[in-house]
């Protein structure tokens, strides 16, 4: 079946092309689930992106309210009306007039008005908001139900693609109130606004599109000023990236050597370690390595303020401020709690889209763990990784382990399967001293060193030294010092 691309970001991806063309789709959701925004956006994107005109039938809010409310989304309905691109059919309740019902009636007038508006401007899209509100305008629900069925048939006859919104009382339960799904059965979309771990999480689910395919399940979305609904198409993102053999520097000659000649140009690198063991430094080196080759770098920092970050970098001999002035670096510092995960994600995406960096670093992803639910965080990580991967640029992400001596983190368990390279930074307690160790745990498609090397930090940055020869149990967090004799014996064990 033919589909009509709505122009709503992400939605066309999960619906595999948009709404079924020439059909009516039911959009059901609880109060505050962004039904009106979605319905308005369906028309707005039609006007802005594909020059298709729209008729908005309102049973609930008066047109004046809709015009005003939607201005914050950047939709200039008033202007579109003057240009004849948008028409309202106002069937909102009239508060200034007494209305009584006596005897039989039908909603023929509404049908005539919709048809008239559609024909007058040549509309191809119709939004109807909301069916629940028309039921509350009339005492006789049976007539309304019959008439809405007639409306659905009439819309089909007009050849328009229509979206009807309707109320639900529960997030998980019957599709809609008043049994409206009985006459708009073919295509159903559900918007949800669920409270999960004390956080609001909006999702959209295409329940059914008769006779055509779509992605299944719930997808998170957010409502942004000047954008409206933005659907985050987590698993619908296609993994069709090319794989590059080109190497780029990690910013450290020694680390490049450990990785068999540097990172691959389109790879995702996860740097994991306890707090204070050098993750931010490695991030700074990664950026320095990029800018020294004239690459544009984007740094997204969620743990430290701009001042802190810049001061620390100076301490390692890297001048972020100067790099920013040269246009080679953009540092975006955000406090994790300042927004929901979806909003952070959209922000990251738009930064990447606008700045068009040659490499991206995120320090640290773990800081965002506390902002959303576990599920939301998992989706966040997968999406952010996909955005970076799609650009075919290297992305370095840091993750903080929960314990000082290592062990896995939530970030790691979500991330490790989609990352190409994993670098572990670990504290090593040796003879009453805390030392630092680094190892390349995994590097997809390349030889890499297996040793755990010691590294030091000084005013010129990071220095990777010799492997820890006489120590075992570093990664498990219980390092043990072995005598030279024992080391020799162990080495002989693996010789033929």
């Amino acid at each position: 079946m033919d589909k009509l691309a709505t122009g709503i970001e992400g939605f066309d991806l999960i619906s595999q092309g948009g709404l079924p063309r020439g059909r009516t789709t039911l959009l059901a959701g609880t109060a505050g689930s962004a039904k009106t925004v979605f319905a308005t956006q369906f028309l707005a994107e039609g006007i802005r992106k594909s020059n298709s005109l729209g008729v908005f039938v309102t049973f609930e809010e008066p047109p004046e309210d809709i015009r005003k409310n939607m201005l914050s989304m950047g939709w200039t309905i008033n202007e579109w009306e003057q240009k004849g691109l948008w028409r309202f059919v106002d069937a909102s309740p009239q508060t200034d007039m007494d209305v009584i019902e006596t005897g039989e009636f039908d909603l023929g007038a509404l049908l005539v008005r919709i048809e008239f508006a559609v024909n007058q401007i040549g509309a191809t899209r119709v939004a109807i908001d909301s069916l629940g509100a028309i039921f509350s305008q009339f005492a006789n629900a049976a007539i309304v139900r019959t008439e809405l069925r007639r409306l659905a048939v009439a819309l089909k006859g007009m050849g328009v693609t229509a979206l009807m919104t309707t109320e639900r009382t529960q997030e998980y339960g019957e599709i809609a109130r008043f049994g409206v799904e009985e006459f708009v059965t073919d295509n159903v979309i559900i918007l949800r606004n669920v409270l999960e771990d004390e956080k609001r999480r909006r999702t959209i689910e295409i329940l059914k599109f008769r006779g055509t395919s779509h992605q299944k399940g719930e997808y998170p979305f957010t409502v942004l000023p000047n954008n409206g609904v933005v659907v985050i198409p987590i698993s619908a993102i296609e993994l069709k990236q090319r794989s590059s053999q080109t190497r780029v520097t990690s910013g450290s000659v020694e680390l490049d050597r450990m990785c068999g000649g540097g990172f691959f140009r389109d790879s995702l690198i996860l740097v994991s370690g306890a707090t204070g063991c050098g993750k931010t430094l490695m991030t700074a080196e990664f950026i320095n390595g990029g800018t020294s080759h004239g690459e544009r770098c984007l740094l997204l920092a969620y743990e430290e303020s701009r001042e802190q970050l810049f001061r620390n970098a100076i301490g390692w001999g890297i001048d972020f401020e100067k790099l920013e002035q040269q246009g080679l670096l953009r540092v975006v510092c955000a406090y994790p709690e300042s927004a929901g995960l979806e909003d952070h994600l959209i922000r990251v995406k738009s930064e990447i889209d606008q700045y068009k960096p040659d490499r991206v670093a995120v320090d640290s992803v773990t800081a965002l763990e506390r902002v959303g639910s576990r599920k939301g965080f998992r989706e966040f990580i997968i999406s952010i990784a996909s955005f970076v991967k799609h650009r075919e640029i290297p992305g370095l992400f840091t993750a903080t382990t929960a314990t000082l001596m290592g062990g896995p983190s939530v970030t790691e368990s979500h991330f490790s399967s989609i990352t190409d390279t994993i670098i572990l930074l670990r504290y090593v307690e040796m003879l009453g001293e805390m030392r630092r160790g680094v190892t390349v745990l995994k590097m997809r498609g390349s030889m890499h060193e297996k040793e755990i090397r010691e590294f030091n930090i000084d005013s010129r940055g990071m220095h990777i030294g010799k492997p820890f020869r006489n120590v075992v149990g570093i990664l498990s967090g219980k390092p043990e010092y072995l005598s030279q004799e024992e080391t020799d014996r162990l080495e002989r064990m693996f010789q033929d």
């Binding site: 059919v89 106002d90 069937a91 909102s92 009239q94 200034d96 007039m97 007494d98 209305v99 009584i100 019902e101 006596t102 005897g103 039989e104 009636f105 039908d106 909603l107 023929g108 007038a109 509404l110 005539v112 008005r113 048809e115 008239f116 508006a117 028309i134 305008q137 009339f138």
Partner: protein, 91 residues
């Protein structure tokens, strides 16, 4: 109510079907008794004049609207329930 005060009504219908005929019949019956024919009725076929329906927010047919005197009143339906109608007009 003085005799000089003329009641003005508008009846919105679609075409000449049984429900619009019923509405006209019932309307005349009630108003003849009540207002001694001091009424003006304008019948509007919204199929012919859809913008009239748009301007006056007509959703259902038949719909009877009292335009003057104030306040404006909207009565939806074929007006078969005469006692309700009479009660509404204050009789």
């Amino acid at each position: 109510m003085t005799d000089s005060e003329v009641q003005r009504f508008r009846l919105y219908v679609i075409g000449d079907n049984p429900s619009s005929r019923r509405a006209r019949f019932n309307f005349e019956k009630v108003t003849r008794d009540l207002f001694n024919n001091q009424v003006v009725l304008e019948v509007i076929d919204i199929k012919q004049n859809p913008s009239m329906a748009e301007d006056n927010h007509i959703v259902a047919v038949p719909t009877l609207v009292r335009i003057s005197p104030n306040p404006c009143i909207k009565i939806i339906g074929d007006l078969t329930d005469i006692p309700t109608l009479r009660a509404f007009f204050g009789v």
